[in-house]
Symmetry: C2
Subunit: 332 residues, 2 copies
């Protein structure tokens, strides 16, 4: 598909310039401008919450910077982890002496660079902790949860950890709540059509028109099965079944639910999916709280959708409902 | 592109069911459920503001139903105007004796059915007025503004009229502000790839990969020129020049700006476009107020974008900034 760009080389920087121009609550920061932070941050006395990752997933990650959510994000090139310098600068930008939680998706490059940045921060006297998003149930089996990738469900951890930090939690408190929210969140997605990285010779993967790949990752990582597209209700039923089968133990009766477009798949189709998913969850005895439907984690113009369940306890539910302000989190 | 649906026949009704399940502030209404109205409406003593149109453009039209915005919307099939019955039911659902403004896009089918519904409403003692969205400068020349179609810019009129009604304006007041906002709003869009109506044999139009059609309408109506895709900045410059050349007389120095994706075009590209548009408007002496960047008026998975300018006066600016609540209007 044709892209509305100037040159692949300028893609990320021009995108970030537009982002901060359109949203004055955000500002570019750092020697190469590859950090987005709150214009009013850091907030004295508050634990910092930082994320980061490759570009091409808006509104992830930078769209969730704001009061009650993230303090700063490091920004990589398209589908590439952020470099060590930008991770360090994001951590420093969020620090006010109370420590910083680094909360990001479980990808090798991101992990390596954030780990190095955390070591350097510790040497400078900034206490850091790390929690990895691992919500994608298609990316590894249940006995290898630590190998699972982080996808759309990480926004639940952003919201819970951000609210806990805003409420005055210690670094240990905020880290624990992020960890618990990740542990209680499960995502499964599917692809209907690929995207193309700016400047690449072709799309990130091949998927013939009319076919679907269940469980495919947001960078085109291989999924569980590939077949002709099925009716939305059949897909909803399979996804709900797989997600509930992978639920953590002792999860209560309430959950939040995110039906997310990977990009091109329109809102109309998300609502068709939502309708069936909500009915199936209701039939299974689950009460749905503050559902989200829209584009929360994308891969540019990739077509497909994902379904995330966040199994609530009272504390996580209260934190998800706490006030926050950013360009892209909305409930209702 | 593969669609996430069950059957073309059930597309609209299943979509509406999902919409109201996900957003409890909205409810389906009317004999065939083809009206979306505020669950807490109608609000006694308030002028009603109603819109409507074909499906496939979410969040237009139904996503803008809420306090400070629309009271009700009639909903047609994909790319088809709503029927007379649903227009009548939307008007009746919004009426509390103060009259109802019908504010919708300038399309033949919509006009015919709303006109008939208004005549019937008048016979039942409901006073109605009509304002048509005519913001698309590519759809007719300046000397035939009444022939221009309504596209994304109509949301500015929704917001201003909705806020005026919420503030206690009379039907004449609310109608005048809607009319003035339409008169001060201009939109120009372009297509990069078509969408497909559910159940149709093929896409709504042909546009070879790598080509762009400037001025194409949201249903594939013919535009101004077709060529190979150009750099984003060149497109921004042309669009700003055409929009400013078509500005109404005596418009002050402040404007709001909507950079809208038609569906598949991702946020990253909208920000790249926004950056240049904002710079060019600034260089031309315009101050930008409360810009919007995102998907506000789509054609399902169509690729492309549109740019809307709303030339402000003090009253319209205050109304755009007034509190409102709906699933899809956001500023900041």
């Amino acid at each position: 598909m044709s892209k509305l760009i100037n040159s692949p080389r300028d893609y990320v920087d021009e995108m970030l310039n537009g982002l901060v121009l359109a949203h004055p609550s955000l500002i570019r920061h750092g020697t190469s401008g590859r950090v987005i932070r709150r214009v009013d941050g850091p907030v004295a006395g508050k634990v910092g919450v930082v994320s980061g990752g490759g570009s091409g997933h808006l509104p992830l990650f930078t769209g969730y910077v704001g009061p009650g959510l993230l303090d700063a994000c490091s920004v990589g090139n398209v589908f590439e982890g952020p470099n060590v310098a930008s991770c360090s600068e994001a951590i420093a930008a969020a620090d006010t002496g109370k420590g910083v939680l680094c909360l990001y998706g479980n990808y090798g490059g991101d992990r390596m660079n954030f780990n190095m940045a955390c070591e350097m921060a510790e040497m400078e006297g900034i206490e850091t902790t790390t929690v990895l998003g691992t919500d994608d149930i298609a990316s590894a089996d249940a006995d290898q949860i630590g190998k699972r990738r982080g996808v759309a469900g990480i926004i639940y951890a952003y919201k819970a950890a951000g609210a806990a930090a805003e409420a005055g939690g210690t670094l240990a408190d905020v880290t624990e709540i992020a960890c618990r929210t990740v542990e209680r969140t499960r995502t499964l997605g599917f692809a209907l059509a690929p995207c193309t990285v700016p400047g690449a010779a072709g799309p990130t993967f091949e998927l013939p028109d009319g076919e679907i790949e269940m469980g495919m990752g947001i960078h085109g990582e291989p999924g569980i099965w590939r077949d002709r597209i099925k009716p939305a209700d059949a897909l909803a039923d399979e996804m709900v079944e797989r997600l509930l089968a992978s639920a953590p133990a002792s999860t209560g009766t309430r959950l939040s639910l995110l039906v997310n477009s990977l990009g091109a798949t329109p809102l109309e189709e998300l609502y068709i999916l939502y309708r069936r998913v909500a009915a199936q969850l209701g039939a299974a005895g689950w009460e749905i709280v503050a559902p989200l439907v829209g584009r929360y984690t994308t891969s540019m113009e990739m077509a497909g959708a994902s379904l995330s369940l966040c199994f609530l306890d009272d504390e996580i539910e209260n934190l998800l409902q706490a006030p926050s302000s950013c360009p892209f989190w909305r409930v209702g």
